[in-house]
């Protein structure tokens, strides 16, 4: 079977500064991969490069998503093709109603795929369901996107969006940071609910706690713009216990 995501020797530069320096990663359908790594190692850069942010220049290598080369696709085309990025720092959009935003997003994706628009009732039902599962107040639907949301609410709102948009591949960038213990569990459940054997996940995190709920198929360490170590869940436990120090030793 084809990979969901196949990244080969990816090099990404911001303002001529190389951040990703030849990164390889293959994610199969239905797999959940965790990426850990020190601050500033390039994890968010990878997420942005996947989503197609301006200024993240691909200077080498390739990204193939579900059989398509991402290089020439606009962010909205990648989304319509089934790619989702949960932001490390979700953006506030003043004045744009959360429910309206989400419905516009869903319908834009459906339109791009040639599927008819969703009707208002079905849409509301599905958002309400997701909100309930994440124990989010329905009033958040009427508020502006992320504006005035608490840190944890913003993160949970990303998961609500993921649940409504039903992507093929979700890249979650530190969605667990800033969550309280109960919220962390809710978010993990939100992710697990979407695991159907076909949908894939790349979960960027600093902590083993989230991974305890998710049981990742693979754990990778991104350091200095490359994947420097891969393993199973035991790697996450080792990192939690020892920090990143042992990697330098083994590299040396």
């Amino acid at each position: 079977m084809n990979d969901m995501l196949k990244i080969s020797q990816l090099k990404v530069a911001i303002d001529d500064k190389e951040i990703l320096k030849g990164l390889d990663l293959e994610v199969g359908p239905g797999e959940l991969h965790a990426i850990m790594g020190p601050n500033g190692s390039g994890k968010s850069t990878l997420g942005y490069a996947l989503a197609g942010r301006d200024g993240y220049d691909i200077t080498g290598g390739s990204i193939e998503f579900d059989g398509q080369d991402l290089a020439d696709m606009e962010p909205e085309e990648r989304a319509a093709a089934g790619l989702f990025l949960a932001f490390q720092y979700p953006v506030e959009i003043p004045g744009v109603n959360n429910a309206y935003f989400l419905r516009s997003a869903l319908n834009a994706q459906r339109k791009a795929r040639g599927v008819e628009e969703i009707d208002g009732m079905t849409f509301l039902k599905s958002v309400r369901e997701s909100l309930k599962q994440l124990k989010m107040d329905e009033a958040l639907l009427k508020r502006a996107v992320n504006e005035g949301f608490s840190g944890g609410e913003k993160k949970r709102n990303e998961i609500v969006q993921m649940a409504v948009l039903q992507p093929k591949l979700a890249v979650l960038d530190e969605t667990d940071s800033g969550l309280d213990i109960d919220a962390l569990k809710l978010v993990a459940e939100g992710i697990n609910r979407l695991r159907d054997g076909k949908r894939s996940f790349v979960v960027i995190t600093h902590y083993q706690r989230l991974l305890d709920y998710l049981n990742p198929d693979h754990v990778h360490v991104l350091s200095g713009g490359r994947i420097v170590e891969s393993g199973g869940e035991e790697l996450a436990r080792r990192l939690e216990a020892e920090g990143y120090g042992f990697l330098e030793e083994s590299a040396a």
């Binding site: 606009e74 909205e76 959009i93 935003f101 502006a144």
Partner: protein, 403 residues
């Protein structure tokens, strides 16, 4: 400058009616002070050259547009500046009468910056007193429209008084056509405990529109202003709130959308004359093409007006390289125990917000439209009445479709 005097205020043409004395006094002030010029601070960014080039003639023969509103309302129609009783309905609790001469005798305005108020006082065709004596069940609409062939200069004057405990929603529907000038003066007074929600929806093509709205607010009375301003060739709005007694509250919210050949200038002032008064203001301007916006928001807290609170924020969005917005918040505080804050930003559409929307699948054009809408809608969101808020939001959305 004297060209404007010749065109708008010729010595000869003063009506000789029961207001003759007041008119002569106003004319004399206007002659001695003149119209604003580029050195007049309050008109620094708004040139009157557009007016100088115009020849003002008749008020036109063609029919004026009639308002079609998505809510039940009583309408007072002012066609080409004149009250039209045939197109109007007066509900119970509302009286419209010619203003008595006395009310005008003691009126005073400042110098050159107030030239249009003096001009109105010298030249008004009709001056009306609108009395609202009780809580009104449905909105009262002032429909100001001019016809396609309107090329006159008219000076409507309207004094509005809300009795103690009265409450009303007043919607000004302003749709000007033609190439003339409307120079409207409104004087609004809220007696104790009165409530007025005042909405202005303005859309003037080539028309020049100068409006002065002075609002005085007594004890525990509450005044709220909302504007959705689609601009005009030259629009100047002076809005002044005087909080006269403890418990008085005033709010100004507005958004102005400007495209090429449009100039809108808002000068707002909120004066806390006594203590224990509160106000807030939020204003947005968005300019595309060669549109020009001017916003000057002044908050004044008088000596002794202790324990007063105000907050002013303005935001501006430039959508083209040749659009311009001049914005200036001014705080003047002479009292103690007050809180007053202001913030002003001028910006372009945020890249990070645009990217966020696009990662959710929303195409670039649609994402930009959403961001513009979000920016412009903010001051209208706190309209409590759902019907009125939805009405303005729909209009805003339609308007942005053309940006």
């Amino acid at each position: 400058m004297s060209a404007l005097i010749d065109q708008l205020a010729p010595e000869s043409g003063l009506p000789d009616d029961s207001h003759a004395e007041v008119r002569r006094r106003a004319q004399a002030r206007l002659m001695s002070q003149g119209f604003p010029d580029p050195k007049t601070e309050a008109w620094k960014y708004t040139s009157l050259r557009v007016l100088e080039k115009r020849e003002f003639q008749g008020i036109g023969q063609q029919a004026v547009p009639r308002c079609a509103l998505p809510f039940a309302a009583d309408v007072l129609a002012f066609d080409n500046g004149q009250y039209n009783p045939d197109a109007s309905t007066l509900p119970d609790g509302v009286r419209l009468e010619p203003l008595d001469a006395q009310s005008l005798e003691t009126l005073d305005y400042a110098g050159r910056e107030d030239a249009f108020a003096w001009l109105n006082l010298a030249r008004f065709e009709q001056a009306w007193k609108l009395s609202i004596d009780a809580p009104l069940a449905r909105p009262l609409v002032l429909a100001f429209a001019t016809s396609d062939d309107f090329s006159g200069a008219v000076h409507p004057r309207l004094h509005i008084e809300l009795a103690a405990n009265a409450s009303a929603t007043l919607v000004e529907w302003q749709h000007g056509q033609g190439e003339g000038l409307v120079n409207l003066v409104e004087q609004i007074h809220l007696n104790p405990n009165a409530r007025l929600h005042h909405l202005v929806q303005r859309q003037h093509g080539e028309l020049a529109w100068v409006q002065r709205t002075d609002v005085s607010i007594e004890r525990d009375a509450d005044y709220r202003f909302h504007a959705l301003d689609g601009g005009g060739r030259l629009v100047r709005q002076d809005l002044r709130l005087d909080l006269l007694q403890a418990g008085a509250h005033g709010e100004i919210d507005g958004v102005a959308l400007l495209d090429s050949r449009q100039h809108v200038d808002y000068h707002t002032a909120i004066n806390h004359q006594v203590g224990h008064t509160t106000s807030r203001e939020s204003f947005r301007m968005m300019a595309d093409g060669t549109g020009v916006g001017v916003f000057n928001g002044r908050i004044y807290i008088a000596r002794g007006a202790d324990d007063s609170h105000s907050d002013l924020n303005t935001g501006n969005l430039l959508l083209s390289d040749s659009a311009r917005i001049n914005t200036k918040p001014e705080l003047e505080i002479y009292a103690e125990d007050v809180t007053a804050s202001h913030g002003a930003t001028i910006g372009q559409l945020e890249d990070s917000a645009l990217f966020y929307l696009r990662t959710r699948g929303i195409p670039t054009q649609e994402a930009m439209a959403l961001l513009k809408f979000g920016f412009a809608a903010e001051p209208l969101e706190n309209i409590e009445n759902d019907t009125l808020r939805d009405w303005l939001m729909v209009l805003l959305n339609e308007h942005l479709g053309s940006f």
